[in-house]
Amino acid sequence: MALPYSCIEACRLSTNGADEWALIAASGTRLVVQSSSGAYTTWPPASGSAVGDTEAEGPPGKKIKLSDPSENTSNFSCLALTHDQKHIIAVTAEDKCIRVFRIDTEFQLQQLSQRCMTRRPCAIAMTSDDSTILCADKFGDVYSLPLLPGPEDEQIRSPSVEQSEAAGEKAFVPAASVLTVHSGRNRRVLEEQLKQAAKGPKKPKEGPTFKHDLLLGHVSMLTDIAYANVNGRSYIITADRDEHIRVSRGPPQAHIIEGFCYGHESFVSRLCLVGPDRLVSGGGDPDLFVWDWTNFELLGKLHLRDAVLRFLREQPDLAARVPEDANSFRIAVSGIWHVPSEANEILAACEGIPALFSFRIGISSTAEQCIVLTGNALDVTFIRQSQTGCTAVVSVDNVHVRVSTTERREAEATSRLEYFSYRPGGQWEQDAETGRAFERISQSGGHADKEASLMTSTTGSEKALGAILYGIENLRKRPDSDD
């Protein structure tokens, strides 16, 4: 028994002149790595083979211990590889931490830093020079952090405006004066503040002491972030739960909003850059939107819901899931990926749907192909090999029934990963060869340890597992009567 992989990344490593690929996948509180030559490691390392590299960088003689990795109880929610493929950035959800790992030549992950944010990071992106992590959070803010914390981070930084804004760590100043016009509620707050002032200032809440700069913010939960460099100009694109796609300049001018891509009528959950000037976005709407984003112009829509409905109707075991009124069927886009070997080919996935849908941007607004999976699609990454071209590695939900995000399977599926290669001419086909090379990481059996508690089907574990794997549909607004 093993948890599904919620996220997966592929990286190419050149060892002794030979190219080797490794898959890095997150399953609950663990990261698992397997190379194409068969090396297999985990983080935290399997007990017994403790790695000494658990110290953060700091000024000599003032090393700080990172928390013992074997004590990690937070689930991984996000993975991002640096462009040079030397580091992997991972977010753990419950402790709101951004962790940076070095991928060493033995395919061991060495955690170099662990920085806990005040708000839960929802998405991360790297600047093209790999110097900076951009972190978009649940509160709507985007922070920049250096890839690795520098020695200067040991000094307690004087709180900047941004920090005081985020963490509210200003010294006490009575906010209201006796002359302020008061509502009853404000008067009570003032009284409390004056009482507090008499007792001496409250200990200000500790904000993070490492370098992190507030770049921009929405008053809405951020769902995705992308960084782009076009003709020497850098941009940050952010998506939120209120249908917005915002285009800002990159640092150091991230406070300048260049424009918005208007058109979504439901939440936006995923952004995918295709080449320098095309953007595909998706969320709670029936279609994916294709943008000439530097001009904020909608170029067209890709009919994803139609493709999902067609797929369901064609599957004997799933056809019953299609409601009578097909228009009431809702999709929640959980992933959009640009196929790296092709100029305009993308794959898209929806929450709780055991298939991927391929589209060719600028050519057709209907899906080219539906890749049927053995479980709900969770994440996709790509391996580019000289012989087989481009292979999509797809992580699938091996514990829930296909098309359900809550109902457990009676017998767990045997594989957590599936492999499809892109044939010139445009078809995706099962890639058994790559599948064999990565058999160990794909296998569903094996390490049943800490995660075992999540695997037993109790209401508590079901909720926890649901939170790890499926959170997109929850972004949809439920009309509330709060006015």
Partner: protein
């Protein structure tokens, strides 16, 4: 927030009487439009807002400025969506002044006759308060039909902290008023404040270079907060005292807002700060 049934009934009865012809010119009574003082700017509400500024039906707000078209206006992105024919009508000039959190609209009703050729919009999150301002606009337009007065003022229900860029396009506005905003005293509610470093970017986006953000409050700490955050933002520079005092809008803001009047009655202090939106620097 629904009132008790009897109260709500009375309010409904009152509001439907406003619809009748002879009542058109009567000013609305505030007591029927009161609402709990605080609205949560983070909650979803049941807000209606345009998908984009192009989708805004401005003509229904400023009918005197409506442009008549034989065929529906088509914008670029619509050509991809032929099925979606728009019913909105354009107006001959864009809105230029926004009063954010306008409350009962005192500022707008004072500004409208002073800038008769400038369109201004109050934006308010509380539904009954918005309705009050809308009714008052209607009454004043009827009373002033001969002179075409108050055709340049309107009010809309909106959570500006989330949806300001849905209403206004880049550099559309020349003035934004933030008068006596809710102070949100509690520390953990600071992101609820209508001025923050990050929201200033949205104000800068909808303001044209040279445009002005006006702020006034009776809460000194909030004044310092707004000054700190707007001054810190590279798109804004604070306007000096001398220039500030020469601006008639500053005097109107001090004396004509409902909150301003209340503060005067209580003998309180008013803190004013104005900021000019500077040109964007060239790309690095």
């Amino acid at each position: 927030m629904p009132g008790e049934p009897a109260k709500r009934q009375k309010r409904e009865a009152y509001k439907s009487s406003v619809e009748s012809e002879e009542q058109q010119a009567a000013l609305p009574k505030k007591k029927f439009y009161r609402q709990r003082a605080h609205a949560n700017p983070f909650s979803d509400h049941c807000l209606a807002y345009p998908k984009s500024p192009k989708d805004m039906d401005w003509a229904s707000h400023y009918p005197a400025y409506a442009v008549q078209h034989d065929s529906a206006v088509r914008t670029e992105d619509e050509s991809h969506d032929a099925a979606q024919v728009s019913s909105r009508r354009a107006i001959s000039k864009p809105v230029e002044i926004a009063d954010i959190g306008c409350g009962y609209g005192g500022l707008l009703f004072a500004l409208a006759p002073r800038f008769p050729d400038t369109l201004m919009l109050g934006m308010e999150i509380r539904i009954s308060v918005t309705e009050y301002v809308q009714e008052k606009v209607r009454a004043l337009r009827t009373q002033n039909a001969a002179t075409n007065g108050f055709q340049n003022v309107s009010c809309i229900r909106a959570n500006t902290m989330k949806f300001l860029p849905n209403f206004f396009s880049k550099h559309q506005l020349s003035k934004i008023f933030l008068c006596f905003p809710d102070p949100h005293f509690k520390q953990r509610k600071h992101k609820a404040r209508i001025v923050s470093y990050t929201l200033s970017s949205e104000y800068a986006y909808v303001l044209r270079p040279g445009g002005i953000v006006y702020t006034i409050t009776d809460v000194e700490d909030l004044h310092r907060w707004m000054v700190e955050h707007l001054e810190k933002h590279p798109s804004f520079e604070r306007i000096g005292e001398e220039e500030q005092e020469q601006d008639e809008c500053v005097h109107i803001m001090r004396s004509e807002t409902e909150e301003g009047k209340k503060v005067t009655r209580n003998g309180g202090q008013k803190f004013v700060a104005c900021f000019r939106r500077v040109e964007d620097p060239p790309w690095p």
